[in-house]
Amino acid sequence: MDYDLGADAVELRKRLRDLISTHIPEGFLGACTDDPKDLATTESFCKLLASDGLLALAWPKEHGGGGGSVWQQTVLREEMWAHHEPRGAQYMGVNWVGPALMRYGTPEQKARHLSAISAGEVIWCQGFSEPEAGTDLASLRTRAIPDGDGWRVTGQKVWTSYAQMASWCVLAACTDPNAPKPKRLSLFLVPMDRPGITVRPIRSMLGPHHLNEVFLDGVEVFADEVLGEVGDGWRVMREALAFERVGIARYARCESLLDRMQNELGDDWDRLPESIRARWVRALIDLRVARLLAYRAVSLQDDPSAGPAASAARIATTTCDQQVAELLFDVLGPSALDSGTSARLHGAIEDHWRYAQAATVASGTIEVQRMLVARETLGDHG
């Protein structure tokens, strides 16, 4: 038993921190801000990572990846999230669209998409959630009606992150409403500039680009754009999302923010109320536990228990996100609500608090994660 990430992972962490300190401006808070320069920063940083084989680190080299170990991938996930995800919207393509293409894609689909993703040249969005089908995705209503050799898709998607900036979408639609629920859906790889697609941004507390509505009005899709088999979308979707089991390394952002805030406070940290400092201790302990649960989930890889282990890790890390957000707001006191570059840590704490509200909702709600953990613990399928 050892918890050594390995020399190559340690070296990678140092390399990534050097790259970030050199190429990411101070105060960078991710791609989804009002400042278009931030989006440009992520685009150029992705290309830089791609040129070093770091963008698609875990991918096989034949698809433009770095052939890295799962622990190198873990370090990459930690360092990127800790530094406000300078890959921007790319992580979706790299983390699950690409791996799903490798498993289910046709040779033509692989040739068309994989090298573009690993080179950081393309942004993908995920057209799954609908106004009446969020967590219960198998019930979605967007219809794909046969038309010639393909289909015409009509419906509405919602909460679609990065839809404005994405050039491609993995679109889920119902191809057979009379089939049993698991066989109703199909997945399509659709360019976002295809006629009939309209994107409307949704103003939200998370900031621009996070949430959008996507309207589909008779959008033409073709047989060679189906990912996997027709009617097999639900299974592909579930298995594809399992590539992203461990999810975002939220604990790393929290540890980073606490570290930055502590450094900024200097000796003033010792003058914080004792109750705050004790909460700080507990937050660091909970973050350590969340990190260890994530490492456990990673180490299980293809073991059948990996799914519930990842759910446990996600419950721990998403609740830490909110715990740390509240702690840091209490540390800041009256200046907690200040935002923008003049705020403490260039607004990173205010940004974190807003984003943390979505932690237990996005990418599978905490209720779904609890259901999965309960199912395993109770040994049933209720």
Partner: protein, 314 residues
């Protein structure tokens, strides 16, 4: 990275669990409250396992074996001060105490005792007799002498760590009993486990127990291999988390078992009452958190971003 315990250690833990089941599990611990003989039999069970020969101070594998032994002992509420005996100094069992209110679990057992506080200050002790308490039935008030030197910080760390493994075993067993109960107990025409509120409560407890298990493995794997101050912080962190997890999981167990959970015929009642000394002593988890505060800026409370702590000169 390999987050799994070595196979031989896991096997030893399973053998220990079987032996403690043969001893009688928590119900034997209940009987031991009134039958002195049973605590001697508990020691026989430990001797059968070779547990009393484990060298937890210098043999890495022995420390791991002691950890899973303590986990099994915690699950069975084994009525014996195994941690105190494994860390005996010159034949005297080592108890961790709060000098302001010294209490020693099983302090009435024959044999010599010494005590240390969390700072490592050593005391000679004069245990008195049991008080018939419901919570911590083997707990004995003690009188301390004036400070009498120190014990190594590593002994305090291992004491806290192995005690946390006992807590881990107790909460894992409490969760298992709760699982069995909610799947078997019918209310409103269906098992309790089909109510979503129950399922979510079980899930939260399961995540807490999983987290404690991972932290316990991580801590024991690093014991003695990091800077001394980091090792001490690790031990405090584990004990704090163990105590907090125990409070959450035992509360969950009581709530879901209903009135049955308060009855000694349920192992939950015994696990809860007998584990209280480990949860509350030598100090509360709130006090442990306060002790850890200097470790935040000092870097002893390690994170992905803390600077490495230099080893203290010997």
């Amino acid at each position: 990275m390999n987050t799994a315990l070595p196979e031989d250690i896991t096997e030893f833990g399973a053998v220990a669990a079987k032996r403690f089941t043969r001893f009688g599990g928590p119900q034997a611990a209940l009987q031991a409250e009134t039958d002195e003989h049973l605590r001697h039999q508990a020691r026989v069970a430990l001797a059968d396992l070779g547990a009393l020969d484990l060298d937890v101070r210098s043999a890495e594998d022995d420390l791991l074996a002691a950890a899973v032994l303590c986990q099994a002992a915690g699950a069975a509420a084994l009525p014996y001060p195994i941690v105190e005996e494994l860390l005996a100094i010159d034949g005297a069992r080592l108890a961790l105490v709060n000098p302001e209110a010294p209490r020693i679990d099983h302090g009435d057992l024959a044999g010599d005792w010494i005590a240390a506080d969390l700072d490592g200050t050593r005391y000679r002790v004069q245990p008195s007799s049991r008080t018939g308490a419901k919570l911590g039935p083997f707990l004995v008030p003690a009188t301390l002498t004036e400070p009498d030197g120190t014990v190594p910080a590593a002994d305090v760390d291992v004491h806290l760590t192995l005690g946390s493994w006992r807590i881990l075993g107790a909460v894992q067993q409490a969760l298992e009993i709760t699982r069995q109960h909610v799947t078997a107990r019918m209310q409103f025409g269906k098992p309790l486990s089909e109510f979503q509120a129950v399922r979510f409560t079980i899930a939260d407890a399961a995540v807490a127990v999983r987290g404690l298990h991972e932290l316990a493995k991580y801590t024991i794997s690093r014991t003695g291999s990091t800077a001394a101050q980091v090792c001490s912080a690790d031990a405090l962190i584990l004990r704090l988390k163990a105590a907090d997890t125990a409070r959450q999981v035992l509360r969950t167990a009581h709530q879901l078992l209903g009135a049955l959970g308060f009855c000694d015929e349920s192992d939950v009642s015994i696990l809860d009452r007998h584990t209280q000394p480990l949860i509350r002593l030598p100090v509360s988890s709130e006090m442990l958190a306060l002790r850890l505060i200097p470790g935040v800026r000092g870097g002893q409370l390690e994170t992905l971003f803390s600077e490495p702590v230099a080893a203290e000169p010997v």
